[in-house]
Every structure is written in structure tokens, then in C-alpha cells.
Symmetry: C2
Subunit: 335 residues, 2 copies
Amino acid sequence: MAELVRMAHGSGGRLMHRLIEEIFLPRFGALPGGAGDDAAEVPTEAGRYAFTTDSFVVKPLFFPGGDIGRLAVCGTVNDLAAKGASAEYLSAAFVLEEGLPIETLSRVADSMAAAAREAGVRIVTGDTKVVERGAADELFIATSGIGRIADNVNVSGANARPGDVVIVSGTIAEHGAAVMNARHGLGLGGTELRSDCAPLSQLVLAALAATPGVHALRDPTRGGVATALVEIARQSSVRIVIEEHAVPLRLPVRRACELLGIDPLYVASEGRMLAVVPQTQKDAFLSALRSHPLGCEAAEIGRVEAGSAGVVLHTTIGGLRPLIMLEGDPLPRIC
Amino acid sequence: MAELVRMAHGSGGRLMHRLIEEIFLPRFGALPGGAGDDAAEVPTEAGRYAFTTDSFVVKPLFFPGGDIGRLAVCGTVNDLAAKGASAEYLSAAFVLEEGLPIETLSRVADSMAAAAREAGVRIVTGDTKVVERGAADELFIATSGIGRIADNVNVSGANARPGDVVIVSGTIAEHGAAVMNARHGLGLGGTELRSDCAPLSQLVLAALAATPGVHALRDPTRGGVATALVEIARQSSVRIVIEEHAVPLRLPVRRACELLGIDPLYVASEGRMLAVVPQTQKDAFLSALRSHPLGCEAAEIGRVEAGSAGVVLHTTIGGLRPLIMLEGDPLPRIC
């Protein structure tokens, strides 16, 4: 039987990587050194630029801590930041379902404008398509972004080295938990479960200014911290060891994940950054993150070792558990 | 009652312009001189770049002369060309409906890769989301593009001047007629009705190299030649007079439009360019277009005059008919 697209092809996990490796990369190719990162570095005549794109299909459109508009701006700004680039220009392409209230579109556009101001980026070009009722689910947005990469910065998932330290900029899994709570009316404390959705450009640029020798950055969105680390481990052919007890996690988020039966290490954040940093720059990097409101709970969570490519979790009860890429898609349409 | 999104909000015509003017521009702003063009000129330290985006929701996915993949590449390449820019890098963001055959996605990706090679552009970054059955219609693609603008080129819909000549690079309305024929099985000659979908970067760059003083370029997609000219007339505050008899139109396309009850001047092309050129450069520009296979049927179709902003059609039977922006959306999901 012919193979069909499954929800898990959009999960950020294993099946999505297969789609990229089997369908897209063989046809479109990749720029030198670029395959596997969330943004491409595009050489221009007078500088290094990063270019990235994302579609957003989150459901519901509005959730505590954000909405599809804020997400569409932050997601693309953060993919640029993960390449060490400061977002300069964004595009926004909308697919609207016939019958969507114009008021909904206005609220989303308000939110995009506010997030763009927060990130110091301009939305400079756009497009709108409309499809019949039932041919799309309310509203989808695709954003693309361009940003300048400083000359002394060279971050890529392929640059992690044995001896490096793994850092996360704050508490994890809040976006995914908040969206699932809103979608399913889980009845968990609505005020406590808020998306962490935020533009990280200023946080990351400040930290890179303090420690330009950072090796790798990645925002742990779909597939969560575990999948993002597996990507880096594979790109760099290294073993990453994570200390479970060190991973910052708020209690209501932990409880929501338990209720959903999902490991928080696989739940999306939308305002957090993972970093792989040389041991010698660890303290300066952490202190730069912690001096910014979006990084005040930054923590060292693990280390990079030589060894076969993969991620191992040192659990709180003292065991060792391999972390693989997300299988299936337990949290569809999270972004 | 609350205003709702209607199909016509995606038509390229009057309601879409209202959406842009009332919802997007007040919130996102526009770069100096950029409002109203299909691509934004973004100043960078590396020179002048154009940046643009489009979503594609065409139905059916495959049609004579093209498919959604070819369209997604050509549409964005042509929006860059209309700003005088050579496409350098593209992004592609997919929204897939659960259950889409992987084989369909592969064919679309093949077609995108082929169109990108034809256009001399690279697809360097992408994204894939999947939504449940019934939450999207098979497959949507959003592409964005970046291209360099040569220093001596300055084209914008705002630059048309009285005395200029209006040129179209070839026969019109073929894309729209071919898609409607395929969608509705109109039974019109399938071999004769083919989309004109093609990347125009090389045609336009060759013509601009010959005559860098071109004032305005626009690809007449949604809303057709009439709507594109009304946009230019408004941006430049000029009157444009078009000679109906001079507009190149193939007989099968004319017949299809008659059957559909639609004026071909409002039907989309996806491989044609409108140009507004100073009288003194007209011959050189036409001859540059005609020496390229995609421009061999280029024709002078009208002129720019002083007067109140608008477009007037000098009909074949000798009348004068004002051309307004497309009202409603007689040909939904054409791109």
C-alpha cells in the first residue's frame, strides 16, 4: 500500500527527520555545513546572513501566554537566534478559512506586531490566501526571517565537542503543557500553566557578545529538549549526558505532563534555548543568560562526551536511560 | 454582525487590498517606498536585497503546465523579479493533510527542485507541519525568497510616469484558464490550455540589463492584468490606457474565458510580466524580451497619461471602459 502522511510526520521527531532526509534533502540539497540546523546560513557579498521559515498550525489559536501570531513571530526569531543571528526582517503568509471572523485576524495581527516590537524585528512583506470552509482549520501562518550573523560567531548543531557543557536558558515544557491544557480543558491551574513563548534574540545576542565561542544553540520546540539534543548529538557525532535532576521544570508543568502521560523532555518550549558551550566559557555564558529576565533560571543540565552519537539521561533515581527522538506525535499541532 | 473572511479576501482584488490596508499595514507598517509592491526592498549592510513571500493553495495540485510545487517556486521568483531582483535563496514551508500520499509530496518536491534549477535559485531552508484529515486540503506551501537588486535598478509600482509605455511579456490568462479547465473538467482542449507558469528571473534580468531605466514591473497573477494595472495606477497616481486589441491572447484561452463568463483581463498568468517603460527605452526593452523564449510574444499594450488614478480600456469596438480592481472571487484557489 502506498505510504501516507501521518500526524507524526509533523512531530519534529523521527518520522519528520525521515521526510527531510528522504524527500527534501536529496531534491533541494543543503548549503555547506547547513544541513540539520533550523536556519540556513546564506553567504552574501558583504556579510553572513541566516534565513529560516516555519509554518504555524497551533490549535487553539489563543492559549494562556500567547497565540498563533506571537508564536509565528517568536518561532522564526528564535530559529534565527539559534544560528547566532539577530532577526532583522520577517515575512508573513496567511492561509485563512472562509468564515473566520475578521476580528480574530485583527487580534492575531496585533499580537504579531507586539511580538515583532519586542524582538526588534520588522514584518516587511506578506501574503493572504483564503480557502473554502472546511479546507483549512481557521488560520495558518508561515513566517520567514532574515538576520545578520556576527563575524566572530559560528554556532551549529555540528559544532558540539567532547568536554562541552549543555545549558538550558530556563524551565522547560511550558508551551506544550499550556496548549494541551487549553485544547483539552484539562482543568489544570490556568494561571499556572502559561506558554513560555518569547523572542530570544536579545537574550542570545547578549550571551553571544559575552561568550562568542558558543558551539551550538537550538530552541527545543516540537520534540522537546530530548529531540533537540539527539539532533545535536547526531550532527556532531558525540554522546550527550543529561542530568535529569538538573533540568529546570515547574511543578504545575510536571503535573500536567504526568496527567498527559508524556515525558516533559519531549514537550515543546517556545521561549527557551539550549546551548552547548566550551567548559571555559560556561560561567560567563550562564551569568550573561541569568542577567536577562528571559534567562534568569538558566541551568547547566549536562555535558558532551566522546562516544557513539546519542543522548543518555542520568535519571534522578540513579539509572541511565537512552533518550531517542520523539516517536509518534503525542502532542499534535503544538505550534 | 461580525465581519467574516470571505473567499474574495483572497482574490487579489478589492477586498484583499482592504484587508492589507485596514488590518496589516496599520500594524506592521511598511518600509519607505515599499508599500504596494509584491516584494519589499530591505536595506542591508551587504547591499540592496528584495524579500517576498507567498502561500500556495491551488486546487487541483496538478494541472496542465504545472503543479503547486512549480507554482510555489515561480510565484516567489517572479515577485522578486518584479522588484528587479535576481532570486538567490528560497525557503519552503509545507502544511500537509494527514493521509496525503508520500508519493504526491515527492512529485511536488521533484517539481520544486526542477523549477528552482530553471530559475537558478536554491531552496535552502524549510519546515513541515501536519494537520488532521479535514483540517487542510491536501497540501499548502508557503515560499519566501531573497534576491539581490542591482545598484542601477529602481523599479516600483510607484514609479510609472506620464508618457511611459505599458508592455506585457506574452499572452495572458493562460494559468487561470488551465486550472479552471482542470478543476471543473470543462472539456476544453487539454493540450491547448496549459498554464504559462514559469520563472521569469532570467527574462527580466536580461531586459533590465539592456534597459535599466524601467519604471515598474508586476506579474499579473491573482486579479489578472487589470488588477495589477490598477495597483500601479494608484501607487503612481497616473491614468493608464490599455488597447484591448493589442493584448496578446490565445484563441483557446479566449474561448475558455467566454465559457466561464470571465474577462481574460482578470484571469491570472503565472509566467508573464507587465512593465512600464519610458518611451525612449521601449524598443530596446521589447527587443530584449523578444530575444528570450519566455518573452517572444511580448507586446506594447498601452500608455501612461496624466490624469486621475485609474485604468481605462480602449475596447476593440471603439469604446472606453474603466477597469477596476477585481470584485468578488470568480476563480478561487488559482494559486
